[in-house]
Symmetry: C2
Subunit: 447 residues, 2 copies
């Protein structure tokens, strides 16, 4: 077929034959011709390890050694690259470190593992001179990490923000479209396979925080563990929030946001957070619907850029995993000993950057109060805000409640320090006519 | 600063100190710290060649040798990488080949040069074992070529399409926003610096065709020269076309489109073309406004993806050029001898793929007829279409003209073979009551 046909294949071992692992086996089989054409040699899946040897995955594995022996796979001299796709923190960490220790390159989609133990894993890889590639860990099939690491490498990155979780974006899109409550939409998403039986990681923003931690490390050269990132999920959003967002010219999205800040003395800080956000309806991010993901990256030279695609799913995620395999395989055949800087910065150049407190933030906010419909309530709310210098741009209250019932009151603030707004909310929520905790939703104007 | 501080800088020589060249000098100076931090060593701009030694570019060049001697720059042993930013086909080609011949790696933003002479240039680079990098040639600062070449390398690419020219997208956005005629908007764009004094390359779609030729070569492993691509620009679009597009739920964009097709016998073809296109108003591409660019790439594993950002301009384009410099510099310091496959496929694997004729296309079309307001005109138009099996979904005609004046009649066809529509238009336009050539605008539903 080509002048390179004599180059030996690079051998791949796959640990974890679940949804993504099966996708990887399918992509390697279905796209074998184009993969060999681009590389000049074949990628060969030589071995698979999984505990479940029975389930039919709908892909022909007859030519591949398939057993439950992950240790044997890692030690197999025919395996040049190990793909870790079992997920979680425990066994996945053990397997990843064992593969590195055996001198194998590793490809993984495991954001949780890297967000929690990245420093240890990247350090071990650097010590052994092997690659750890993880494009699939953020944005599924979207090659956004490559964009930050290489395409935008000439920039001081100013911000990275986006829709990093497809499950929550599906739920938000459906709540907006149907006007239904969170619980109803979540139940349907679970039935359709868009949400897991235990949706905590997704709907509470934890998965997005894992991904943001990786993105921010790469964008800013910052050591960051995801526990430090203030994280607020989509529970508690009500149909009225979507109605008001539309009325005000916004759409509601769960954003992961990381911005580079500088203190008065010039020392760097990172503003990183996960929360539901109102974004202008005509912005690119507002138009990312359903289970799709998008990441906006702004650099001081390139200005705003955006990367969009499927953030999860069998084949899109496999596309990223196999793309990483191809990059490593090409370097193996060129005799190169491993990427030195999986986070774009050499591992010993990563610095611990302090996080900005959310109280330091400044901007417009959407506030939804739930209060008994009594005289003086509005005066009390506006008074508590006004005392702290928080101006009110508009107030919405529709209808009247029966005696003893609550009504929602929505306010849009002028740009203000979030600390002042939170203090006002604390005071307001202590009052007996306020029947539920006030909901604050941040507004991002510049997208 | 780091454990790598002892690694010697990589030397860069810049030929052409115009807008983009000045941007490159600025980015190398302003972002020197982050560039060195990411690479582990500095990139040093050691020499610049340009015929204009007088103009103040607003950047400090006091430490850089600056003269008009491009031959001397290429031969300079301190120059490891040559940046070609003079543009055009003639001298640029000579300089690029001379640099390659001298064993220098080359970075260029010159899509015209590569679209016309890519095969010769990439062949020479392969022979010499040097890199030719050109991320800036398509999509300005957007790292879309890297995405196609590496991030999506595991995919059979099904289509690449997008807004590839910022000038025309600015003009279309302004025509839509203001309702003004093409000539007025173009004049203002020229005054504002969004369009050149001679706007031909941009408004007639030639620049977009250059870029599409490069994208398609990379996506499909196809040899393709841009002359083969049917190209239609934005001249002749009228305010009514924008009104009707809005009414029908579309927006008007100049798209470059390349799709992978297969004949009945399975042999591959490419459907490639540049033309104004109606795209669904809620699609991501429809929301790309002003001088911004976006490219949508669909792969058989990843599904649809999209890349958005500034497609031109001093600093965004420089961001891409310097990103390429960093990638090559890193490989130089690792002792690697040059990228083998600048088009994602090894140069000897590129195949000549036949183009689909536009007549073969199948889809819905927008047709604008200009005819005298006389009895029988509508019957004649619909008859000519109906005889060829072209169904009409809707007809719009507003108002009546004075005797002897023409009125526009707009029709939306059902999906039909474009060949049949074009035959009908030929017949219709021969008739004396049709006073201007009929305008056909294609509709892309799947975005």
């Amino acid at each position: 077929m080509s002048s390179n046909a004599s180059v030996a294949p690079v051998g791949v071992g796959l640990i974890g034959l679940g949804t993504i692992g099966t996708g990887v086996a399918k992509v390697l089989a279905e796209n074998a011709a184009v993969i060999e054409q681009r590389l000049g040699f074949p990628l060969r899946l030589v071995r698979i390890a999984d505990l479940d040897l029975e389930t039919d995955r709908g892909v022909d594995l007859s030519e591949i050694r398939f057993d439950s022996d992950s240790d044997g796979l890692i030690a197999d001299p025919e395996v040049d690259i190990v793909i870790e796709l079992i997920g979680g923190y425990g066994i996945a960490k053990k397997i990843t470190l064992a593969a590195i220790d055996a001198g194998k390159h590793v490809v993984t989609a495991n954001k949780a593992l890297l967000a929690l133990h990245g420093e240890e894993i990247f350090g071990a890889a650097q010590g052994k001179g092997v690659d750890v590639a993880f494009e699939a860990a953020v944005g599924g099939g979207i090659p956004v990490l490559r964009a930050v690491r290489e395409g935008l490498a000439a920039n001081q990155i100013e911000s990275v923000l986006g829709i990093l979780n497809g499950t929550t974006n599906y739920v938000l899109t459906e709540m907006e479209r149907t006007g239904e409550a969170f619980d109803e939409v979540l139940k349907r998403a679970q039935e359709l396979g868009y949400a897991e039986a235990d949706p905590t990681f997704d709907v509470d923003g934890i998965d997005a925080a894992h991904k943001l931690a990786l993105l921010a490390a790469m964008a800013f050269g910052a050591k960051m563990t995801f526990e430090d990132i203030p994280t607020e999920g989509i529970r508690g959003l009500l149909p009225i929030d979507f109605e008001m967002a539309e009325h005000l010219g916004y759409r509601l999205k769960l954003l992961g946001i990381a911005k580079s800040l500088h203190d008065a003395d010039g020392s760097p800080r990172i503003d990183a957070r996960i929360h539901p956000t109102m974004v202008p309806a005509d912005s690119m991010l507002a138009n990312v619907d359903g289970a799709m993901n998008a990441v906006a990256v702004t650099g001081n030279a390139v200005g705003p850029t955006l990367y969009y695609g499927a953030g999860a799913g069998e084949l899109p995620t496999a596309s990223a995993v196999v793309g990483d395999l191809m990059e490593i395989a090409r370097e193996i055949r060129r005799g190169r000993a491993g990427r030195v800087a999986p986070l774009s910065y050499p591992a010993n150049e990563l610095v611990a950057l302090p996080l900005a407190g959310t109280g330091e933030l400044f901007g417009r906010c959407y506030l939804r109060f739930t209060a008994l419909d009594r005289p003086g309530v509005l005066a009390h709310i506006t008074g508590a805000l006004g005392e702290r210098g928080v101006g009110i741009e508009s107030v919405f209250q529709e209808g009247h409640a029966e005696e003893g019932d609550s009504v929602p009151v929505v306010m849009l603030t002028h740009p203000a320090r979030e600390e002042a707004i939170r203090e006002a909310i604390d005071e307001i929520d202590r009052h007996s006519h306020v029947t539920e905790p006030t909901r604050l939703i941040r507004i991002e104007e510049e997208l």
